[in-house]
């Protein structure tokens, strides 16, 4: 368990004003549920980037090289093994562990890509706002429609959880909004804190 991402979920009783507290208290043992959550969330952020930017693993590896992280993500197999640590993924032959350096690399790469394409992400979120204000569906525009289709296809192709298109659309749009905030200069810190603070992930649930 050495060098694993070490974190604990927020204690239910902790005051939200104590936002830094979880970062200052590193328990000796990692929380496996939270580890799974972190792996899943990271993979989903990358999935959203892939779907929205219509990029593949080559672009992610290129970003790793530009960030001097090629020693951690040298090739497609290494990237695949990292992302295969997501417990929501199909198959069981994937890598089970994700160490801190690898997690951090994925955070940096995700935010680097988001920053590079901030204008497009912002345009999409602004479009989503307009459509919502006009009571129109996101699918009615090519930019958002293509993203939702691609995200849904990738998710269903790679993840084992059964879910509905509506729930997947909700997930995709939340991730798109998140990407906007990750595209800022402090985006890496925001994503990292979010990974630490989030509750354990579960497969996307269908709306009630």
């Amino acid at each position: 368990m050495d060098n694993l991402v070490n974190m604990s979920p927020r204690p239910p009783t902790s005051a939200m004003v104590d936002r830094e507290a979880p970062l200052l208290r590193f328990p000796a043992q990692p929380d496996l549920a939270q580890l799974d959550s972190m792996k899943a969330q990271l993979d989903l952020v990358l999935l959203a980037l892939e779907a929205f930017l219509e990029i593949g693993s080559e672009a992610i590896l290129q970003a790793a090289t530009e960030l001097n992280l090629a020693h951690l993500l040298g090739d497609r197999v290494a990237l695949w093994r990292l992302r295969q640590s997501n417990p929501l993924r199909k198959g069981t032959g994937g890598r089970k562990k994700l160490d801190v350096e690898e997690a951090r690399s994925l955070v940096l790469i995700s935010c680097y890509l988001a920053k590079q394409h901030q204008e497009k992400i912002r345009r999409a979120v602004g479009l989503l706002e307009q459509l919502t204000a006009n009571h129109r569906q996101p699918h009615q525009t090519p930019l958002l429609g293509d993203y939702l289709d691609k995200f849904t296809n990738l998710y269903q192709e790679r993840m084992s959880a059964e879910t509905t298109p509506a729930a997947l659309s909700s997930l995709a749009l939340k991730l798109l909004i998140d990407l906007l905030f990750y595209s800022s200069p402090g985006g890496s810190r925001r994503l990292w804190v979010a990974l630490l603070e989030r509750m354990p992930a579960s497969p996307v649930e269908s709306p009630p």
Partner: protein, 440 residues
């Protein structure tokens, strides 16, 4: 020794807002590597989503208010991002939206009973795409409460504050009362005492030394002491560079043993907005030390676990968080008056009319245990423009309240032009309260 100061002025201009910060740059800035500001004032201009093409909303404030704003926005954004992407069902339509956790009432505010004004500043989710910002003590030059922010506006506001925090450090004001000292590390306060004592000792030596005759004839027997006492903030100045590492986020750049160390290739990592830049004195290394500024963050979304753990009272009970608003209008704060009776503070008749309207119609649904609060925005003709639920419970129960539909007859037409804002409080015991909200 009088330190020279030079004017400082910056404008941060993301697409939908403008943050203008002015102040004086301390001569001690050279030790910090970036401007150390004093006498800081700021003006924030936000697009008003309620009026297309209308005047932007102008907010003004001082250093502590800018710190509070930065903290509030940054904390809110982080909590927004902390909501898990999975398992959400984020409907995007405001009014019916209930995807985000209910905001947490300002329990800390009522407990301490101080700095109520600053605590009244908060953000609250209406949907993934829509957020309500109540600017609290910030001075609004135009109709400003509550302010509806789109998510891109929220992003722009956070970006502007982030850019400011990354560029400048605001010094504590010199006339700070004891409450401000709560944010200053103990070691800094101890150092201030030591330096002041040293100044006194030196002055005493000088007074009693052979060469002190000319000093004794001066008006101020101890210029060093008076200088130090009048500007304790300056004593803190050397701290920012020294504390850069210890106060950076542990996840990125912390010297903690955990290998979450600084990312070597992160492009221009901006410091955490509430870290050293915005309030260098507010970063005690001891996590158990009191952190008064954080208490200014009044309301934040709860996590799922917190939402499940207990049913909390709704946000903004008029007795506490909106005390500022109530006081400003002399309206009854802890009102337990008969619902339909006229209240002295009904500065416009529509407040009483609304109270009467709901008192006749409000039937608490079975099982309702929470107080529901809404901001009612009136059209110029007295019909309802929209109702903004405050909190998840208010969203959930919206369709079970007697709130009329948009543009349906409601109350008489308010005098003057423009919208009127009425805070509606529906209690589970059947009582109804209405207040006039600022911004009329």
């Amino acid at each position: 020794m009088q330190l020279l100061s030079s004017p400082f002025s910056r404008r941060y201009t993301p697409p939908t807002c403008t943050l203008e910060v002015t102040g004086l740059t301390s001569a001690l800035s050279k030790w910090a590597g970036r401007p150390l500001l004093k006498n800081l004032q700021f003006q924030l201009s936000l697009e008003d989503l309620r009026q297309e093409g209308g005047q932007p909303i102008q907010l003004r404030g001082d250093r502590s208010q800018l710190d509070a704003l930065t903290e509030t926005v940054e904390t809110y954004v982080q909590d927004f991002l902390n909501q898990p992407s999975t398992g959400l069902n984020p409907r995007l339509n405001p009014q019916t939206e209930a995807a985000l956790p209910e905001a947490e009432p300002s329990t800390a505010g009522t407990a301490s009973g101080k700095q109520t004004i600053e605590k009244a500043m908060f953000l609250q989710p209406q949907s993934l795409l829509s957020h309500t910002f109540v600017p609290g003590s910030l001075i609004a030059e135009t109709s400003a409460a509550p302010i509806s922010l789109s998510v891109t506006q929220l992003f722009d506001l956070a970006t502007a504050l982030e850019e400011y925090s990354a560029e400048a450090v605001s010094l504590p004001v010199s006339h700070s009362p004891a409450s401000r000292l709560a944010g200053i590390p103990l070691w800094a306060r101890a150092a201030a005492v030591v330096v002041a004592a040293a100044g006194l000792s030196i002055a005493a030596l000088e007074l009693f030394s052979p060469s002190s005759t000319q000093l004794a004839s001066q008006k101020s027997p101890n210029p060093r002491q008076s200088s130090l006492q009048s500007s304790p903030g300056k004593l803190l100045v050397p701290s920012p560079p020294a504390s850069t590492n210890p106060t950076s986020p542990p996840g990125f750049g912390s010297p903690t043993p955990l290998p979450l160390t600084s990312p070597p290739a992160i492009p221009a990592p901006a410091p955490l907005a509430n870290d050293a830049p915005a309030s260098p004195g507010a970063q005690p290394q001891n996590p158990s030390a009191p952190t008064a500024p954080k208490q200014q963050v009044a309301i934040q979304p709860r996590t799922a676990a917190q939402s499940n753990s207990a049913v909390k009272p709704p946000p903004l009970p008029p007795e506490s968080d909106v005390a500022t608003i109530a006081a400003a209008e002399n309206s009854p704060t802890a009102s337990a008056s008969a619902p339909a009776t006229e209240q002295l503070a009904d500065t416009i008749p529509q407040v009483a009319e609304a109270r009467s309207y709901f008192a006749q119609r409000w039937q608490p649904p079975a099982g309702l245990k929470q107080t529901l609060e809404y901001t009612l925005v009136l059209n110029a003709n007295g019909t309802l423009q929209r109702a903004v639920p405050l909190g998840q419970a208010a969203s959930t129960y919206l369709d079970r309240t007697p709130i009329p539909l948009a543009n349906q007859p409601f109350v008489s037409a308010p005098e003057g032009k423009g919208s009127a804002f009425i805070r509606l409080v529906l209690r589970p015991n059947g009582k109804v309260e209405t207040f006039l909200q600022p911004g009329n």
